[in-house]
């Protein structure tokens, strides 16, 4: 059984359920739980649900220390860029402490943040910084693109004994989708084939999954059958699912909201190059253009990838000759 849920509500539901399940889960961040009427505060009390000052280094660092000593903190960071003032905690503390201790400790923690808010917030608030957190041994990164994944990955993230960066695309906040009833866990590290197809493999992340699916719909009308894969986790990355699809189709389009060389798409393209170079006849990346995000709408629209650009890229790879089998 499943019910329709809003993306944001699906995240919240997972947090509530896990906090009910495990008293060690605590939840804090800026501008939350401000009055006694706050529903989370009412449910879980002021020890477990807190408002924090604008102190990301302390907020995340406190999360690390709390996780080291027996809690499972969820830190609400709002926009992913706000992590940057505390980035040592994210990539050089949380994921290293277990290893440096020779396995004696662990850091079960969730860093929750939205990203990629293309809504006129200009150069510093609209970015995709996930590439900075990929490939950091010890750190997991998830980017759910549907309400169901949002719930299932949040549940998995809270239960994971490692630090998990949970990034939700702000542009999907109000999207609706079916979410399975009751406990629902999506394993971290498993890509999802959001649409099967045979002519071309489209790998897309977060908000771009929605755009890729819309593009695939348009392409289907043109008799091009696109397979759309959502990695869901950027770390660990499910290279096998992607490579298998690529070997089947021989054509690849990678869609990423980040600028080209700071995209997950580039890393995925690299994996494809190593694992399937002989099977691929054409590969294209559809990413943001190489500029910060500008404020004004026509500028912003120009920089960010969209459905048209995806359709165009697919058509261009289809135009290339297939690899001789």
């Amino acid at each position: 059984m499943a019910k329709e849920m809003i993306y944001a509500d699906a995240i919240a539901a997972a947090i509530v359920e896990e906090m009910q399940r495990d008293p060690n889960v605590v939840f804090y961040g800026q501008n939350m739980a401000l009055t006694e009427r706050d529903p989370m505060l009412q449910k879980f009390g002021k020890e477990r649900v807190r408002v924090a000052p604008i102190s990301e280094t302390a907020e995340i660092g406190i999360g690390v220390g709390a996780a080291l000593t027996g809690l499972r903190p969820i830190v609400e960071l709002w926009m992913s860029e706000f992590m940057l003032v505390a980035f040592d905690q994210v990539i050089n503390e949380a994921p290293r402490l277990r290893y440096m201790s020779g396995g004696q400790v662990s850091v079960p923690m969730v860093l929750k943040a939205g990203y990629g808010f293309c809504a006129g917030w200009a150069g510093q608030h609209s970015n995709c910084i996930y590439h900075t957190m990929m490939g950091i041994p010890g750190l997991k990164v998830v980017v759910p693109s549907t309400p169901a994944d949002a719930k299932g990955l949040m549940t998995a993230a809270i239960r994971d004994d490692n630090p998990v960066v949970y990034l939700h695309p702000y542009m999907l906040t109000l999207d609706k989708g079916e979410v399975p009833d009751g406990e629902y866990v999506v394993p971290i590290g498993l890509a999802d084939i959001k649409r099967t197809g045979s002519d071309v493999t489209i790998v897309a992340i977060g908000w771009m999954v929605k755009k890729a699916l819309a593009a695939a719909e348009r392409l289907a009308a043109q008799n091009i059958s696109a397979e759309v894969i959502d990695p869901r986790a950027l770390a660990p990355l499910d290279v096998a699912t992607i490579v298998n699809s690529v070997k089947k189709t021989g054509k690849v389009v990678l869609v990423d909201q980040a600028p080209r060389q700071s995209s997950a798409a580039a890393v995925i393209a690299g994996e494809i190059a190593e694992h399937a170079v002989g099977s691929v006849s054409a590969l294209r990346m559809v990413t943001a253009l190489d500029a910060p995000i500008p404020y004004s709408e026509p500028l912003e629209n120009y920089v960010v990838p969209n459905e048209d650009k995806i359709v165009e890229a697919v058509r261009s790879v289809m135009a290339q000759e297939a690899v001789a089998a």
């Binding site: 924090a52 500029a291 500028l299």
Partner: protein, 352 residues
């Protein structure tokens, strides 16, 4: 006669010349008019302003009082809540409004928007949207002034919330050790977005003033009524003098109240957005607090005082107000008429 008495009972106030008082009132009104116009735009022209806009209504006395001590080449470096400052510096309102509207004739050609106004020719080199980070930038401007021995000082404005960010502490320590020519103005508008400052500041939680943080740097720290531009001017003047004399930085807390909500509602496009009720009401259900502070509106308060002190006539005040109103109306018209930038321009300005 009454003039003399006033002079004796409040000597400081009378050190400000009449024309300066009028100038201060003019700037305060211009800021207020601008901000109210931005706020109205969300209703009158929905969709024209995107992203997140932060208004300075309530901060007028702090901004103008502080900048009334400024010398012509001193740097001014505020946060993303930045509309008020360039208004005082003489930046044309039409280019400011055009920037807020994302137009080609905007100060930044539509690349920055409300949060990122910049007018370096008027010693306002720009802002950061990341809380607290511009405190370090401002400190760097003070380094420039010191290295070049230019005689400039820096006015660095930031919020109560920002004073909880590592950048604040690190910058003030370095400025003190290096004796940089800078005045740190902690604009305590009592809220960090939705959070009342008592909920997040250890000094406040203990009933202390926020300027006590200056002790951590063995730096002068003072708190002043930020609804009174003359009081602000007096305290900032001392700090500015100290900076100019090469004696290093000071921290001044100007305490006032933000009169609008933190910013317009955060919505996912194409949902419309506009300014919600103030957090005191919307979040805390505390209408009383809001009304009490509204009664202390710095613009109205200063007007009443100037009239009472005879420093300004009712007619002069009205002239100032209608000029400001007309100026802002014109800015809106200009901005609405200005074209949006062409998409391909987005690839300009990435590298110098």
């Amino acid at each position: 006669m009454p003039h003399k008495i006033a002079q004796r009972s409040a000597p400081r106030k009378q050190q400000v010349r009449r024309d300066q008082l009028a100038w201060m009132y003019t700037q305060m009104v211009r800021i207020r008019e601008f901000e109210e116009s931005v706020k109205r735009t969300f209703i009158e022209h929905p969709g024209v302003i995107r992203g997140h806009s932060h208004l300075g209504d309530g901060a007028e006395a702090s901004i103008v009082g502080a900048l009334s001590t400024r010398h012509p080449t001193d740097f001014v470096m505020p946060s993303y809540r930045c509309h008020g400052y360039p208004i005082v510096l003489g930046t044309p309102l039409c280019n400011m409004m055009a920037e807020v509207f994302g137009r080609k004739d905007g100060l930044c050609h539509g690349f920055g928007g409300s949060m990122h106004l910049a007018d370096p020719a008027r010693y306002f080199p720009g802002t950061s949207g990341m809380v607290g980070q511009s405190i370090a930038h401002a400190t760097g401007a003070a380094l420039t002034a010191q290295v070049k021995n230019s005689g400039q000082i820096v006015y660095c404005f930031f919020g109560d919330g920002a004073s909880k960010q590592g950048a604040f502490f690190e910058s003030l320590n370095m400025a003190a050790v290096w004796k940089l020519p800078i005045v740190y103005v902690l604009e305590n508008n009592q809220y960090q977005a939705y959070t009342h400052f008592r909920l997040e500041d250890a000094n406040a939680a203990a009933g202390d003033r926020l300027s006590k943080k200056a002790d951590a740097f063995s730096m002068p720290g003072a708190t002043v009524d930020g609804t009174d531009p003359v009081a602000v001017r007096t305290v900032i003047a001392k700090a500015a003098k100290r900076a100019r004399a090469g004696q290093g930085p000071s921290l001044v807390e100007t305490k006032f109240y933000r009169l609008s909500a933190h910013g317009n509602l955060i919505t996912v496009p194409p949902l419309p957005t506009q300014f919600p009720e103030h957090e005191a009401v919307a979040v805390y259900g505390n209408r009383k607090e809001f009304e009490q502070w509204k009664a202390k509106d710095p613009v109205k308060g200063f007007r009443a005082r100037l009239l009472k002190d005879g420093a300004l006539s009712e007619a002069a005040a009205r002239r100032i107000e209608s000029a400001a109103h007309a100026e802002v109306e014109e800015a809106v018209e200009f901005a609405l008429a200005s074209p949006l930038p062409a998409p391909e321009e987005a690839l300009e300005y990435v590298y110098a």
